[in-house]
């Protein structure tokens, strides 16, 4: 039963080669195999959104994908957003400026969801932002400032 498979995954533009069991979830590959712990693990059954990554530029739950399935796809995680160490990208800056995080646990997933959302909807309404946010849970329930941050990032990009 201990089938092991050699895979090479493209994460944030870097190729990582590992040998893994097929049951290894992409979340655990990112966190434990290559040390990218920015992708958080919340519910591990696809409800909370903390593990949201970009799969070929589309938002997806990394806890519902096996790492072996990701070969040949471009994976982006929150570590890939900032232009350089110590810097923030415009969406991250808007989160800081509007106090859009409290404990911060849900933040990486929300940043990835909203990165994909803003790429498709550069001038969203507040209602659209709230709808797009519905797949990410914040247990601090600070949603208002998160909505403000996304709207601010969209406004600054115009």
């Amino acid at each position: 039963m201990s089938q092991r498979i050699a895979i090479t995954l493209d994460v944030n533009g870097t190729a990582y080669r590992r040998e893994v069991e097929p049951r290894l979830l992409l979340t655990d590959f990112l966190r434990h195999e290559i040390g990218l712990t920015g992708t958080h693990v919340g519910c591990e059954h696809g409800v909370c959104g903390a593990c949201t990554i970009l799969w070929d530029a589309a938002p997806a739950r990394a806890c519902l994908i096996f790492a072996v399935q990701a070969e040949g796809h471009a994976i982006h995680t929150v570590e890939g957003l900032a232009p350089a160490p110590g810097q923030l990208n415009p969406l991250q800056q808007a989160f800081q400026d509007t106090h859009a995080l409290q404990c911060g646990y849900c933040t990486p997933g929300i940043l990835m969801t909203m990165t994909a959302f803003l790429a498709e909807n550069p001038a969203p309404t507040e209602h659209q932002v709230r709808d797009a946010l519905s797949g990410n849970l914040c247990r601090c329930t600070g949603y208002q400032h998160i909505v403000d941050a996304v709207l601010l990032a969209a406004e600054r990009a115009r």
Partner: protein, 290 residues
């Protein structure tokens, strides 16, 4: 690791996938989008010894239109592709309206129409939509294939007519006649959650504006998605006026047999069935005039 160990096969062709399933039977599960199967595996509610991953099989996804207007959707077609398809939005708007209620964008990136239908959750949107649209499913196996009507496909919660060597390969949706109107409504406690109850309706008028055909299909209203044929029969021949719609909604309310859930008892679900049927029929009736 959350899931129990399993052997993983990711064949490149449909023939290989079907041969694996025929050989291993119920010990093997097909892995489509994984948005229902992987949560069950993470909880270890489901512990298949083998996954036959369909994500690398060529030719199982795609959207095509026959000359007669029938829409064919490959089983592995992602929700994300369907909801962004302009031709489907124009010609089969019920699919798009209902898809907006299916979980969240992150789930629709990976989730597939075929995987969802084969999973056969009675609280899921697409099975009810398929009943309302009169869809037919093409099933494939290493020994051949067959076609079944959506109305005959679902037999119990999470249970379909699929044999252990069969795969749901393609969904075929007949064209909507002219003077058709459709609508989808559901009530869920939170956006993207499973609905406490939902309904998909189709109405078709004749040249004189009378209702020629109607179909109402409910989700979360029993062990499978269910049609309400007696309510539909009440609408035939009417002008789809307020009174006829109210009568049909009352009939639908009596006709469904909801089982109750953690969030809604059967009485409340029955109440929702009447209210949502009335509203959805009114919307579809107006759209059938447009």
């Amino acid at each position: 690791m959350k899931p129990a160990p399993f052997d993983w096969h990711a064949p490149a062709t449909l023939a290989e996938a079907l041969a694996l399933k025929a050989h291993h039977g119920d010990a093997a599960r097909f892995l489509a989008g994984g948005q229902s199967l992987v949560p069950a595996m993470n909880f270890r509610v489901s512990q298949p010894a083998m996954l036959v991953d369909l994500n690398r099989v060529a030719g199982l996804d795609g959207i095509a239109w026959d000359a007669d207007g029938t829409l064919s959707i490959g089983a592995m077609t992602r929700y994300r592709s369907i909801e962004r398809d302009a031709a489907i939005a124009a010609r089969q708007p019920l699919l798009i309206e209902a898809l907006a209620e299916v979980a969240h964008p992150q789930i629709r990136t990976r989730g597939t129409l075929g995987g969802n239908l084969a999973h056969a959750d009675p609280a899921s949107e697409m099975p009810a939509v398929m009943l309302a649209l009169g869809a037919r499913f093409r099933l494939a196996s290493s020994s051949g294939g067959r076609e079944v009507a959506a109305a005959d496909f679902f037999i119990a919660p999470l249970t379909t007519v699929l044999a252990e060597d069969e795969m749901l390969a393609e969904i075929r949706i007949p064209p909507l006649p002219s003077r058709s109107g459709t609508a989808f409504l559901e009530v869920a406690r939170r956006r993207g959650d499973y609905a406490m109850l939902g309904v998909a309706v189709v109405v078709v008028r004749d040249a004189a504006g009378r209702c020629r055909e109607a179909r109402l299909a409910f989700l979360s209203a029993g062990p499978t998605p269910v049609l309400a044929p007696r309510a539909a029969a009440l609408l035939r021949g009417t002008a789809l006026d307020t009174k006829s719609i109210a009568d049909a909604a009352t009939m639908a309310q009596q006709e469904v047999e909801p089982m109750g859930s953690v969030q809604a008892n059967p009485g409340y679900q029955r109440h929702l069935a009447g209210v949502l049927a009335r509203r959805a029929l009114s919307i579809a009736a107006a759209r059938s005039l447009a």
